[in-house]
Amino acid sequence: MRASTTDRSSPTPSHHSRAAKVFDTLYRDHVDLVYRFAHRLCGEPEAAKDLVQETFLNAYRGFEKFRGDAQVSTWLYTIASRACLRMRRRRKCAPERELSLEEFIPTSDGEFRLQIPIDGLSPEEALQNKQLRDALDTAINQLPKKYKMVLVLRDMEGLSAKEVGTIMGLNERAVKSRLHRARLFVRQQLSAQGLGQEIADPEQALLR
């Protein structure tokens, strides 16, 4: 897949067809993974599709930079994460706030005891409840991007802290620190929502 400088400045038809073939395999094998990640980062389908296209376009152009010493999925996660941050900057969003640990420390028994009312349900059963699903999505979407990325990669995509560090250019300690704050934020949002008793009732949950 390595191309010479001449190839890049004036690509020949054979270069194009070779690149297209490699691209097709890459796209076929990984588009679902990239879309899932993009949807989790963006929170809605249209923005996620934009991010997928941006990611694969950058991957197409950067084949020669991929040295094969990382997993292809790690490489694509890295490209997608950077593209996501670039798209955010392009939209000129306000700078994001830092999450401090102190804001999540309960100051009363009541705050300590805030619960997510899903006792007795498996996570799959609990997530059949739309109210809970929406509350979870809202909480995750309210996270500042750099915290959200760590939570999505670690807790939703199931990567190790080391892999998340490689993707985001962070050491493991920084990954774990952001992850902890992100989880505390989501926990606080979910438990403070007053989601109601019905979530703990499987029959009600299934009706929704």
Binding site: A19, R40, L57, Y60, I105, T107, F112, R113, I116, P117
Partner: protein, 101 residues
């Protein structure tokens, strides 16, 4: 559930208040390490120490349980999949953009 929660809080808060120095001290230390505890990343002795604390501190026990639930919900949150049409359309768009630029 909410009612039960309120009543247990009322009965337990007086018995546990002495164990807590909210925002400081022991519980604060434990809370800082809870993700590492949940992810099983702590050394055995620290783990045992936290386990002992959780056994004697209902507040921290509820807190860790809700944090575990949060992580578990994130892990199991399904994500929508792409339609065949979307997959094909995006592929076309990407190849077109790659030729133009």
């Amino acid at each position: 559930m909410a009612k039960r929660h309120t009543s247990t809080k009322r009965t337990r808060s007086s018995t546990t208040r002495h164990q807590h120095d909210h925002g400081k001290g022991r519980c604060l230390n434990i809370l800082r390490q809870l993700s590492a505890y949940i992810d099983d990343e702590l050394a055995g002795d620290i783990c045992n120490e936290i386990r002992r604390h959780l056994g004697s501190c209902p507040n921290c026990e509820v807190f860790v349980s809700s944090l575990r639930q949060t992580v578990s919900l994130c892990r199991h949150r399904p994500s929508p999949s792409l339609s065949t049409d979307d997959r094909a359309m995006m592929r076309q768009n990407i190849l077109k953009a790659a030729q133009i630029r």
